[in-house]
Structure formats: C-alpha cells, structure tokens
Subunit: 403 residues, 2 copies
C-alpha cells in the first residue's frame, strides 16, 4: 500500500457552516477526516475552524454540485436545502444523507404530521390553514392553539400563540405567501427529546431521552436523562423515535421533539434530521457524541456506543444577552473557569446578539438538581456577565415555560 492509499479516509461534505458543522468538524478530526463545509459567509462558525471551506449557498445548485464532487457523503446542518437541489445531487450519484424524501418530513410540518398520522403516531390535533376562517373554525373546536409556518420556523420564529382568531395576522401571513398550519396547544408537563441515529445499512442507536427546558420559545437547558421519567416511558419514546427513523428512511441523526402531556403520554412536536441542540450534552456526556454518530451513520460505519458517562448531565445554551455585558467574553471565560473548573465550555465564534445562541456549557455529576444549578449559573454568567446565585433565572423559567 502506498502512502496515499493508506490515508484514504472518507470526506463528508456538510451543507451549512454553523455551530453544528463546527462541532462535527471536531468529531471528523478524530476519525482521521476533515469536514468539508459549504459556507454562505466566511465568518460562519465552521468556516472559522475548518480546513476545507467552499463558499456558496444551499439554494445554488451549481455551488452544491461543485461542493459535492469528491465527497463520500453529503449531509447538512440545517433544513433549508431545497428539495429540487438535493434531488439533482442524488440524480448525479451523490450519496445524500438523509435522502430528500426523508428530509422533507423535517422541512414541511404538514407533510410530517400527515405521515405520522398514517403511521398511527400521536401528534396534537392540527389542520392546514388556507384562509383566516380555517383558524376561527379550528379554535372553536380545539381551543387555544399555535399557528405555525409550515416551513422554515425555528427557535420561536414562525410560531404564533393564538387564543382568539387573529384574522388580520393570518390574512397578512397568507398574503405574504407563508404556508400555514394550526395545532392545538397541548396541556403538558414539559418537553422531551428522543435522539437516535440510523445508518443506510439499517443499524440504529438511541441516547437516553432528555428533557428540553424552554423559555421564550427557545431551548435553554437540556437535562439528561429526563428527570423522573419512568423507564417504561423512556423506552417507549426511544422506540417511537427509532420507528420514525426506520419508517421515514432517515440516515444520520433524527431528533424527535416531544410533548409530555398532563396524562404522561408523549406526542410528537417536531423532527430534525441532523445534529440537534438537544444532543450537545453527548459531547462529554455519552461515550459517542451526536456529531461522531452522525458521521458514522452517513458513512454507514457501525454506530458508536451511546452509554452515558455520568448519572446527570446538563447542557445550557449561552444566549446573547438583552443588554450587552460590559466585560468582554474572554474576561468572562477567565471568571467562569476560576469558579467552575469542571464545566465544559463550547463557544461558536459568533458575535453576540440578543437571544442568539453563541455557545453552550455542559456540567456533569451525580445529582441532577446540583448539576443543573451549576450549568445554569455558568451559562447565565457567560451570557450576561452577572452571577445570579441560588436558582438562576434560566432554571427558574422551567415552570413558566410549561404553562
């Protein structure tokens, strides 16, 4: 074997160069690879740290084609890749994971819900909205609901809470060409997420089910495993996610966002087919991280062990503060490390703007309540430059968010 052959390891191309691609690159390095990223902007989080950065946007088929040449597999770190472009790549012979027909269920909230209903999987009551009257009719039948853009919403964007029919809003959105759906607001205890991976061969693996703590429509903390979730319910949620992955033909990661209802049942909220915020805890908290697992899955490698490394793991997002801190982020890091030498920090190289995810922290331990306080304090400090001792504002949002 000559030198070149012996180094012959695969090249994964990731469309998008956000923090998910950035962290996937860290995992790729260990596997002897170097992630190729398609970056819309040279300042994107992954573009700042990757060796193989190709400029271009997911909507540009010519750029996608040039990008895909020489890739062993092509995947993405966001859902905003047009179906027609992915189908063109598949027609070119590119190994796209997940394939466009599967991805569609993470791109289109109506397609996803209709498919899950066909499969007999529980989702909240929903309806397509074609005119303002559809909203009024749905509210009359189902009470307080959530209006959602069928495509493109995330982190609270593209979501409107409706107690009364808001005909002007609905008319305005429809006039702007936004496809809409409406869904009953579920009376729930909390939100959960089940993260699984599936390879083209059909091997699948699941991490422990987590609780995702929300505030203002955004995930602020992830608790692994979900505290107090009965083993039987956790296994059910894992099996649900594995079944969805198999039925939809997902390759790579699948995150199933769930509502745990007041009766203790789970219903599906959203799907994502890529590394997901609810899985960042796996970098330190599981034997195989979601980023490594995504690479293994899209390359059809056997999957890695998902065993947790600690009884309690908490990931807390670092969000840009409403009021920019006086102290620079480097100085905040100094103080954070001095106080919590065991908290792991991940910063994404992004400028701070209010509510923008600019990083996350992970704390590990044996007592969930203690670990949670530590993660919340660390994230809030990095965000605001202020210590909020005792039970932090972030952590305290849990109860409010679950109304």
């Amino acid at each position: 074997m000559d030198a070149a052959e012996s180094k012959n390891l695969p090249v994964v191309g990731m469309i998008g160069a956000g923090q998910l691609a950035r962290m996937t690159h860290q995992a790729a390095i260990a596997l002897g690879q170097s992630l190729r990223v398609l970056a819309a902007d040279p300042g994107d989080p992954a573009a700042l740290v990757c060796a193989d950065v190709r400029p271009g946007a997911a909507v540009d088929l010519a750029a996608l084609r040039a990008f895909s040449r020489g890739c062993s597999a092509v995947t993405f770190d966001h859902e905003g890749v047009p179906q027609e472009n992915l189908r063109a790549l598949v027609a070119d012979g590119v190994a796209v994971h997940p394939e466009p027909g599967a991805l569609l269920h993470a791109q289109d909230k109506l397609v996803m819900r209709r498919r899950l209903v066909e499969l007999g999987i529980a989702v909240p009551p929903f309806a397509e909205v074609l005119e303002p009257g559809d909203v009024a009719a749905f509210l009359a039948e189902h009470g307080p609901s959530v209006l959602k853009a069928v495509r493109g919403g995330y982190d609270g964007r593209g979501v409107w809470m409706l107690d009364e029919p808001d005909a002007p809003l609905v008319a305005q959105l429809l006039a702007a060409g936004t496809p809409l759906m409406i869904e009953q607001r579920v009376a729930m205890r909390r939100e959960l997420a089940a993260l699984v991976a599936r390879s083209p061969f059909g091997q699948a693996s699941a991490w422990p089910v987590v609780e995702t703590v929300q505030a203002d429509g955004q995930c602020v903390q992830v608790l692994a495993p979900a505290p107090g979730l009965p083993e039987e319910r956790a296994v059910q949620a894992q099996q649900l996610a594995l079944r969805i992955a198999a039925e939809l033909g997902v390759t790579g990661l699948l995150a199933v966002e769930l509502f745990e209802t007041d009766s203790g049942a789970v219903v599906v909220n959203e799907l994502a087919m890529r590394p997901h915020n609810s899985g960042h805890w796996t970098i330190e908290g599981a034997r195989t991280s979601q980023f490594e697992q995504h690479l293994r899955a899209v390359l059809d490698y056997p999957l890695g062990a998902t065993t947790p490394t600690a009884p309690a793991v908490v990931m807390a997002n670092v969000l840009g503060a409403a009021v920019p801190p006086v102290m620079g982020v480097d100085e905040r890091m100094h103080h954070l490390f001095a106080r919590f030498p065991d908290v792991k920090v991940h910063l994404y190289g992004k400028a701070e703007r209010p509510a923008r995810k600019v990083g996350h922290v992970t704390a590990l331990g044996t007592d969930m309540a203690e670990v949670r306080v530590r993660a919340a304090l660390a994230a809030e400090w990095l965000s605001t430059g202020e210590w909020s001792d005792g039970w932090s504002a972030h952590a305290g949002m849990r109860e409010e968010a679950n109304v």
Copy 2:
C-alpha cells in the same frame, strides 16, 4: 459592544503541525478559538484540519516572526525550536510559553539532569561523553548503561544500549558532531509518567500518574491510573512534577517521564513541555484534556479539573505495521467499530510506515485488565488488520520491556 469585539477571543500559535497540534485544534474550537499552526509541510496532520495554517519551519526566524504577529501566545508541539529563535521572539514582545529558559531543560538532556541534581531530585547516574574513554570509564563504574544523544532523540532514536564500551560507535557519533551523554540502565519495574500543567500566574494542576508501557523504545500503551501504584507514591510523583514545573518556570504542560525502580522509588527519565503521548487518554478519560489544559495554561486562564471520568482508562498507540495490511484503513475502521462500539479512535491523517504513530485508541471501564485487552486488540487491529485474541502482542510486551 460591537460584533467584532464580542468575538474577541485569543489566538494561540503552535509551532509545528503534527498530531499534537491537530488535537490541540480540536480543543481550541470548543474554547471559541482557532489554532494557528506553523506547518513545515501542507500534508502535516494539523495542516489538514486547521483553518489558519502558515507554512514555515521552526528554524526560520523570519517565518516565526510573521507567524507570531497577532498571536496572544506562541507555543509548540515539539522541542526542535532553536533557542535563539525563541529568544528573538521574546525580545520582540511575543508571549512564548514555555519561555526558552524553561524549554531548554526539555531540549538538552545534560542541562536538565544537572539542574535536577542541583534541586536534589533523583536521576540515574550520568556523565557527559566527550571521548570514547568516558564511556569505558562509566561502564566500569556503573555497569550496563544507555548512551544518549544530548539533543533531539525520541521514540528510541538517539538512544543506544551499551553492555560493553563500543568505542567505534562512540567515536563515529562524536565525529559526526552528536553531543553525547551516558546514563546507568536502571533496574526497574516499569515506566511511569506524571503530567501537570502550570500557568504564568503560577496555578498548577496534575492528572493521575500513569504507567507507560514500552516496546522497542516506544510507548505502546498508557494505563491510567498506573495499576497498583500506592496512593502515597502517586502523590509523591505528582508533587515531584509540580515542583519541577515551578522550579524551572514551566508554563503550559510538563510531562515527567519516570522510572519506577525495583525498590519502588521513582527517578526522572525525561521531560517534555507540551501535550504528550502519555496524556492522550485525558481526551475522554479526564474532565479536562491535556490539549485544553495546555491552551488554558499558555493563555493564563484558570486551569480545568483533572478528575478522571472512569476508574480505568487505557490509551494504545496505533503504529504503522511492519507488513502493510491488505485491508485499507477505512475498512479496518468498519470492522473495529462493529466489534468495539465503545472504543474511541483518533487517527492523525498520516501515511502508514513501520512503527510510525498514525493514531491512537482509548478504552474506558472499571476493570483495568479488561480495558487493557480491549485497547490492545483495537490498536493492533487498526495497525495490522489482524485480530490477536486473548492477550495481545502489544500488551504482552510489557514484561519484556521492563527487563
């Protein structure tokens, strides 16, 4: 604060782009940074995965100066940086860590030994060799010994075992301009390593003391913690390493390679002032990896927790096989992952050549003997493409190496 300021995180420059720089880049990414590397070759392990790669060699002062401009701290992944170049950078105002006066002790085996003797720290009997007669005299007094190049040797290179004075060899080496020393061959149980970090502020931290298993002059396995080492001895070794770091003014990492003698005492073998092969296990096996810790230390951040994440951790080097395997490395990865879903793999992007370190694997668990077999099997498979079940050849070398 504007966007640019909020992203204002430090830039560490690492002279050298081998696997140590490659793994340091992974740690830098989490800290919001992007490691800058000086690469002698664009195919170097770190050059393949880093975004900020500057071509150049450590012996080229102009290249070093250009490289250092804009760096918050400059460090290195090997000892081959000329003192005069580092001193010139310091004179320019560059923050070089460790400073050249400290590094000298990792570059020059005689300077190091003389300094440790001054400090009252145990080293094996040694002498400078200026002519072949010095070797004969030393052997007559101390018995079987080791002839060493004073500078530049590693992984069994620059080291010659001598039972009899080999006057032609010594004369030939001296004639070639190789400064030499001789050291008594210590009757020992095994080799240990104590890894510590120290910041400019003077904060220091130590990982558990490990056993380094050698074969053919090269480390093949690292067992963390060193099996059967009494707690009191382990603490002594840690304190020894912390004292050396403080006395020599080391900033960044310090690896102290030790011999455990037949009487159970430890004597110092060699020093390294950078991330070290004996610390690769910390990536998964400790709360803070040696790579993150080195960055924190050279940036004068508070240091991270060194708590182990499992009771038994084994790192095994993947060495190029004497006979190249028929199966390519990608196929070997498939089989490895299928058999050991929980073993973590790190490949360096290097072509395979006999005995060359091309990667490492890490296994974790509770029973050292079981973990060791797993790591040995995995490393040997990746190296040779052959499973050697039961007690592997690598692991079996332990007893032989400790003669």
